[in-house]
Amino acid sequence: MLTVATGNKAVALAVKQAKPVVVAIYPITPQTEIVEQIAQYVSQGDLSARYIDVESEHSAMAACIGASMTGVRTFTATSSQGLLYMHEMTNWAAGARLPIVMANVNRAIGPGWNIWAEHTDAMQERDTGWLQVYVSTVQEAYDTTLMAFRIAEHNDVLLPVMVNLDGFLLSHVMQPLDTVEPADFIPPLHLPHTVDPKNPMGYGTLTGPDEYFKFRWDIERSMRDSLRVIEAAHKEFFQRFGRTYGFTEDYRCEDADVVVVSMGTLGKEVEVAVDNLRNEGIRAGSMRLRWFRPFPKLDLMNRDVVVIDRDYSFGFGGVLAHSIQAKNRTGVFSVIAGLGGQEVTYDDIAGFVKNRHIGREYWFGVSDNV
């Protein structure tokens, strides 16, 4: 069905169709619309889920963990400071191998207090064992949320999935949305370590130096296996609903001399910059990274690479730029742009490409630069 929705509403709609049994969410700008929408679905009887009012994000994740341990589908959503407050519990969710799906509306971290788009919030959850996917359109937010449940709950994965969408730039932007009937695209959840009141056990209790590392390895094993599961989900989604997704969205990359790598809504801006650059005779391409964890193999050999990071790791560099350099053994021009919702236009991006200097880092908007 064709409709019009914001990114937040698209996520809520997908959640309604995925039919979680327990939803525990604490509101935070710019994610609040997701909470409101799902609360409305539940109150109107459109979604028969147990909606748990919580007093914090830490509790929201804890409630999802408890619910998920009983083997039911769970969902939560957060943003920025809320995600950071959850941090202890996000680690627990992954370690306890619970396929919780969470929408994170990317927002900068204070101070200075800022409610606009940035990816540093999710980047700080990088090493928790969550799968992370970044979307760029309302349609993609919807489609990816549906896929997230299927991927998280797959027996070879059983890890939580975080669907990231840019604050305001996507969460509050209205675009056309073609909804689907998921039917059995998301099979019923079978959690092998579901709690059984008739057979009480301790879960994730004291685990000594002789055992702990085995469970850590199992997380990594599942991360690696998830590459195949994600690919299969993309394929099945295309076969059923006709829309194509990959680990990256590549735009005019085939013959490109220079490829711009980015995540989220910036990737769509890059596509316009690529068209304009090509009109000027510069063979540019855009590679928008969707899946950040697990980190996919990227085809970036024999061309210049410009990476736009909407995040930063202080004392180190742009997280995406350095991930690409490490995984691909290639030099990049690292651009730090869009922090705290800083406006980055396609003309600005074309400028990054034209003035690229491989091996350097460039902070957009900072005079003279580094």
């Binding site: 092998p192 370590h193 056990m201 301790g202 879960y203 994730g204 685990t207 199992d218």
Partner: protein
């Protein structure tokens, strides 16, 4: 084929953390004359080391003194143990 272990799971067993009695510095000594067998010491014992007849299993009593502290009759005295 063995079951894939994704999460550490355990069942309660006696002495799962070893013989915690070896940690003890103070030994609880019950004055049976004063004791009215209310059972609060058994209820509060964090190690479950006190049975229904209010005998203390010294293999697992850590000597924490919670029983002595909770006893409304002051019938339990913590005595330094020389080992």
């Amino acid at each position: 084929m063995s079951v894939r272990r994704r999460l550490a799971m355990s069942r309660p067993t006696e002495g799962a953390a070893g013989r915690t009695g070896s940690w003890r510095v103070f030994l609880p000594v019950i004055d049976r004359e004063r004791c009215n067998q209310c059972g609060l010491c058994q209820m509060y014992c964090p190690e479950g080391a006190i049975d229904e007849d209010l005998n203390i299993d010294l293999n697992f009593c850590k000597g924490c003194g919670i029983c002595a502290n909770e006893c409304p009759k002051k019938a339990i005295e913590m005595v330094r143990e020389d080992r």
